[in-house]
Symmetry: C2
Subunit: 329 residues, 2 copies
């Protein structure tokens, strides 16, 4: 699976487009335009463009990174998909609904010889994890919770490492990440027996100087998603872990009765799990989202965290990830 | 999903029928007969019976608990399935191949108004785990590895508890267990995001005196399957854990480079994981398969293990699980 660029980003008709925002933030160069329906209050600052205009400008993929209001796909969205296929574009969707299961879409894709990607749904079968050591190096972002910046941190690391001329690739495990990378595996949609095998597939053997920067998911102490996380930890055979956190969060998002465990315990827990498949695994630092704090408070928070865990603590936006990459080198 | 009994056990044409053996061992009373094809060297000691004879004797389900040689379903097996449906039987299969996806089987099931169960494939969608406390008590069997007797131990506990008049139910998480219980969820086939939610569904709130005896899967330190195990551990909200082991095994089955961790560490690791969703979780003992040892050696092994871990250590066959149930009461 390789999603072709440039993209036309579909922003729908609502007031949110988190996935498309992420794509345009990290891969602005491959976002040719945005398509907004009446009612849409999002503006990513890209040229507004119809499907026909996009096709004329060489766009390769119509990207649906926004969920319909109420969850159900409206008929006029299906019409847009059909229009895109007819115009010679592929279509990539991050919806829960499989667009590749809609009969008209199947027919149109076949007729126009275009591809349709449902990135939330794995499009292949995986083997079970082998646990066999493989060459190359891998870094996995892990978290104190969900939605703490694991994808953002992985991408910030990739950017910093590439700027230094290092050999590094971001490996996507969620829908936004897959749109950004153009490929990847939505691991939380993989059958549980195959999660670590899918992660081995996602980050295969590589040259000794190469780093895979694997996007983490969930949290090892999460009552719903910890199994996904553990499969990722084992399958990635990570040499380096970066623990991600959202400043001042004390309980799991949406699970108020579950406290976030102390950070030193969290580091120890992830290192212990990771060492099952890579005895050299080590947490090299923390990446902390302090975007909701004032500058002075944020700096103070980062310093206190650093004293507490004894590892470099950065905010990828506020301070950058220079010190994490220094720690890797 | 509730698979109706009595069963006609299909033993195929080979020399192994592990699943059917398990069913006839634990639920002899619901196994009316066996059907063997030429070449079959297995004999479970049940009456040999054709599908027509089984139907005449009130059998409700034709049970396929044996894999075809080479993995591919032969045409004459499909014919047997069609014959069973035509004779008024349901069909339950533990094959990887979905028999409910075979067009002739779909047509025959509809025509004769019979049900077809693919127990390896979840037949419903689950919610994500809530982590919300629920009433009733639960015991989960966990392991130092795969294939160490987790299902056997759970069933032995159910038998002993029922004999004492306790309120207890075995909850199946694998194909053999599902045939035995008549229902359950093949958790390793559940999409990874929903494993703990599926486990919550499998062992719902119950009366305060009721015990669910949940069949464990995999091992928390297994490079392929640990994610499944952790989802089960979190979703079960177990009060009690029983650690299962095969005597003298030192490395993971099929993963020779992975050592089985020391038993005290193993107990601590499972208790720590289980306490994420149930702070009272405690390992109450070990269940050890010593079937490959001589009597004196086995007894010696159990005594040594008991001294090492400081918990009751039993072999469910050799010593029974009386002491584990004593520990629960």
């Amino acid at each position: 699976m390789k999603i072709q660029t440039p993209y036309l980003l579909f922003l729908g008709e609502g007031d949110q487009a988190k996935t498309s925002s992420g794509v345009s933030f990290w891969r602005r160069d491959v976002c040719a335009g945005q398509l907004r329906l009446p009612g849409c209050s999002v503006d990513l600052g890209l040229p507004d463009m119809s499907i026909q205009e996009a096709a004329a400008q060489g766009v390769k993929t119509f990207l649906i990174g926004v969920a319909p209001h109420g969850g159900k796909m409206p008929a006029h969205w299906v019409n847009l998909i059909l229009e895109a296929l007819a115009a010679g574009l592929d279509v990539a969707s991050g919806l829960h609904t499989r667009i590749a299961a809609i009969p008209e879409v199947i027919a149109a894709a076949a007729q126009h010889k275009r591809q349709v990607f449902d990135v939330r749904h794995p499009q292949q079968e995986f083997a079970v994890g082998s646990g066999a050591p493989r060459s190359g190096k891998r870094l996995l972002t892990v978290g104190t919770d969900c939605e703490v910046g694991k994808m953002f941190t992985s991408l910030a690391l990739e950017r910093e490492m590439k700027q230094r001329g290092m050999n590094a690739d971001f490996r996507a495990t969620g829908q936004t990440g897959i749109f950004i990378a153009g490929s990847g595996v939505s691991v939380d949609a993989v059958v549980s027996d195959f999660v670590s095998g899918a992660t081995e597939f996602l980050s295969p053997a590589n040259t000794d100087d190469h780093w895979d920067l694997i996007e983490g998911q969930g949290c090892l102490q999460h009552p719903a998603y910890a199994g996904v996380t553990l499969g990722l930890v084992h399958g990635s055979q990570a040499h380096a872990l970066v623990l991600c956190h959202k400043a001042k969060r004390t309980t799991l998002l949406g699970y108020d009765n579950f406290k976030i465990v102390p950070f030193d315990e969290c580091v120890a827990m992830y290192e212990e799990a990771a060492r099952v498949t890579n005895p050299h695994a080590k947490c090299i630092g923390m990446s902390i989202n302090t975007s909701h704090l004032q500058e002075a408070e944020a700096q103070d928070y980062l310093i206190k965290m650093e004293q507490m865990v004894g590892l470099p603590c950065v905010d990828p936006v506020r301070t950058g990830v220079v010190r994490l990459v220094d720690a890797l080198q």
